[in-house]
């Protein structure tokens, strides 16, 4: 694999810097006022994300439509008409959007579209991609089941062929945003007699308004309704909604998981660090600003360094993408590193602000509007969502380092 080698250079090009400014100007203009104050997300957490919340549904859709008009929801889609966006440009976009807590896209744009482009039929691409690119469609991930979490291959929700349709029975759990999305992006068992359990799995798109779907809210420990349990009772869907080939869904799922895990909220980390630094400079303890306390200084410096590390991985992955260097484990490494640091950031913030970090959002004494106590809870979702960090380590060890499997 050869490319034009020049001297090592960590700078962005002028074009890239101009792009960054363009994105920033746009989002500052288009985000609803008080968005930053009102959206309470913690970088890396999955439990308090704007795209999963009922009261922000209209605002998100509004923004997606605007982003769709700019062609920014379809950045980097192979074969898609329009401007060509490098991985680095997309990473710059993601970083800025994350900094402002804005949804850069959604599950349809970020996970569904990429998978459809790689594996979907021409007909599926024609039917679904334009609406996704326009920001008109959102998906929720219908993967996990009560008995199939980390061991997703043991999923039981079945889809039986009936003429031109599939009939789905079973249930899914932890579907974040099912209640505010249009369709399930789903994996089901279509061949119960397959020799290996990951064979005989099919990936398909199921509209939420198909009869027989019941969405039951689950309240996460942050007190937010982000995810759900969803029941499928003889839900009929056209075979046209199958992504790629029947029974091949597991392989597409691996790709889709890669897309999901690569989405690192770097800008959010930067912003939270800035808020913490400002807080320590403005907060007095025993006549001195917290920022002069040696323990606070050491802890914040450590967190700043860790966030720098997240950034290093982030830009390396973008750069590798632009050079066509594929690494099977980059997504797992990105997810592992960034979510561990999400937890470290929450713990550091809590310790630095002790005992004020405990105060909830509606208290006048709460620092950072109570974000820290929410972050302290939400960072748990970071460690276990999108594939637990234990699973990520398995993948890194087995796929990345060639260590042998258990059996």
């Amino acid at each position: 694999m050869a490319w034009e080698r020049s001297d090592m250079d960590f700078r962005f090009t002028d074009k890239e810097l101009a792009w960054r400014d363009e994105v920033e100007e746009f989002i500052k203009r288009e985000l609803p006022p008080r968005w930053a104050e009102d959206s309470l997300s913690w970088p890396g957490g999955y439990g308090i994300i704007s795209i999963f919340e009922e009261h922000l549904k209209d605002a998100c859709r509004d923004l997606w439509r605007k982003l769709g008009k700019k062609g920014w929801l379809s950045m980097g889609w192979p074969g898609w008409p329009g401007e060509k966006y490098t991985h680095t440009k997309r990473a710059i976009y993601g970083d800025i959007m994350s900094y402002y807590g804005a949804p850069a896209g959604n599950i349809a744009t970020g996970i569904g579209a990429g998978t459809i482009i790689m594996f979907g039929s021409e007909q599926m691409k024609k039917e679904w991609l334009p609406k996704i690119a326009d920001g008109e469609l959102s998906f929720w991930l219908a993967y996990s089941e009560p008995n199939a979490g980390s061991d997703l291959a043991s999923l039981q929700t079945s889809a039986v062929e009936d003429g031109d349709d599939l009939v789905i029975n079973g249930s899914k759990i932890w579907g974040s945003g099912a209640h505010v999305s249009d369709c399930a992006w789903m994996v089901v068992r279509t061949d119960p007699r397959a020799t290996k359990k990951y064979q005989g799995i099919t990936m398909l798109i199921v509209p939420n308004d198909a009869p027989g779907i019941e969405i039951r809210p689950l309240i996460n420990i942050c007190g937010i309704h982000s995810f759900n349990e969803v029941f499928f009772d003889n839900v009929r869907v056209s075979k046209k909604n199958i992504v790629g080939e029947m029974h091949q869904g597991w392989y597409y799922l691996m790709v889709a998981l890669g897309f999901e895990r690569l989405a690192v909220p770097l800008g959010g980390f930067r912003r939270t660090l800035e808020q913490l630094v400002r807080y320590t400079k403005e907060t007095m303890r025993n006549g001195k600003p917290l920022s002069k306390d040696p323990l606070v200084r050491s802890r914040l410096a450590d967190i700043a360094t860790k966030i720098e590390i997240v950034g290093k991985f982030y830009w390396q992955i973008a750069w590798k993408g632009d050079r066509g260097i594929d690494s099977e484990t980059d997504a797992s490494i990105a997810k592992l590193v960034s979510t561990e640091i999400s937890k470290d950031l929450a713990f550091a913030a809590m310790d630095i602000m002790s005992p004020y970090g405990q105060l909830a959002t509606d208290s006048k004494w709460a620092p950072l509007a109570g974000r820290v106590q929410l972050g302290y809870l939400d960072c748990i979702s970071a460690l276990v969502g999108a594939g637990t960090n234990e699973i990520q380590r398995n993948i890194i060890a087995q796929r990345g380092l060639g260590l042998p499997r258990g059996k």
């Binding site: 590390i309 991985f313 380590r393 060890a397 380092l401």
Partner: protein, 377 residues
Amino acid sequence: MDLSFTEEQEILKKSAHDFLAKECPKKLVKELDESETGYSPELWKKMADLGWMGSVLPEEYGGSGGNYLDLIVLLEEMGYNILPGPFFSTMILGAIPILQAGTEAQKQAYLPVIAGGEKIFTMALTEPSGKYDAAAVTVKATPAGGGYVINGVKLFVPDAHIADYILCVARTKDGADPEDGITVFIVDGKAPGIKTTLLMTLARDKQTEVVFDNVKVGKDRILGEVDKGWAIVKDTLRKAAVAKAAELVGHSQAALEMAVSYAKERVQFGRPIGSFQAIQHYCANMLTDVDGARYITYEAAWMLAEGLDATKQAAMAKAWVGDASRRVTLLAHQIFGAVGFTMELDLHLYYRRALAGAQAFGDSDYQREIVAQAIGL
């Protein structure tokens, strides 16, 4: 962005890797560690013949006109293999400060002999306080007889016992601002009044105590200007920290590879131990630590090579890599179990050196204070 080395740097890296594997096997490493001088003159000459000492020096001084990044490439491989000897001291603590702050006469006097591998250099900075700030410089240089006389004790000085020249950081003036009044003197390593004692250290790296007892040094040996030497020292410290980080990345990579290789071979409970999750998770953690350490070090090194202000980046790199390399080498030991606890296995060499490197040129706590200042606290 271009986050890769140049073709030439890749070639340098590979050739250094192969050369060291052949010319400096662990048997030699251990012999040198136990020896007094800590280096092999034959190997030193071969390195000079390969142009390694000249890599960062301009052609007019006998070098090949490379830059700091080229040195980093070499140092990472030296860390990977372990290369006992005064290369780091000579290049980072001698050649670079002289290249940056020396008069033309000084550059002519010292740089070509460095490039040729004929002279060994080091810098005597730390004192018994063990601190790296300007106030810690108390070794005194008093004007006398047209030159200066140096008195005091330096500690943790690498390779002073074999150095032909010691860049001694001394205080020439006391004042309100400790950064004002420091002068760097290029002192003959065997000048009358210098007494060097080798310290026995964890890593068997050759750190010394150097006593300066009325050591005379001429005005022509002042590097830069009188009283204005701290700027040179700060710059050297920063470059040394990042260079040491590069070595540590090499140590960490080696430890990771040893551990993964062992985990695949060692069978217990009827299966390779690498098939157990605890071991797999250790290895995954080690890999992310090594990769992160590498990326942050390269960026800091690039900034230094470009002459950009790398205060924050260098401190972050050294803080992170110091801690990460200690984590990695420890986890590697845990994967090896008891057999890693023997002198027979080479892993402890990396564990020891990870500690030494982490504490050199400002430990992680020291670096974090620099970061704290850099982020505005």
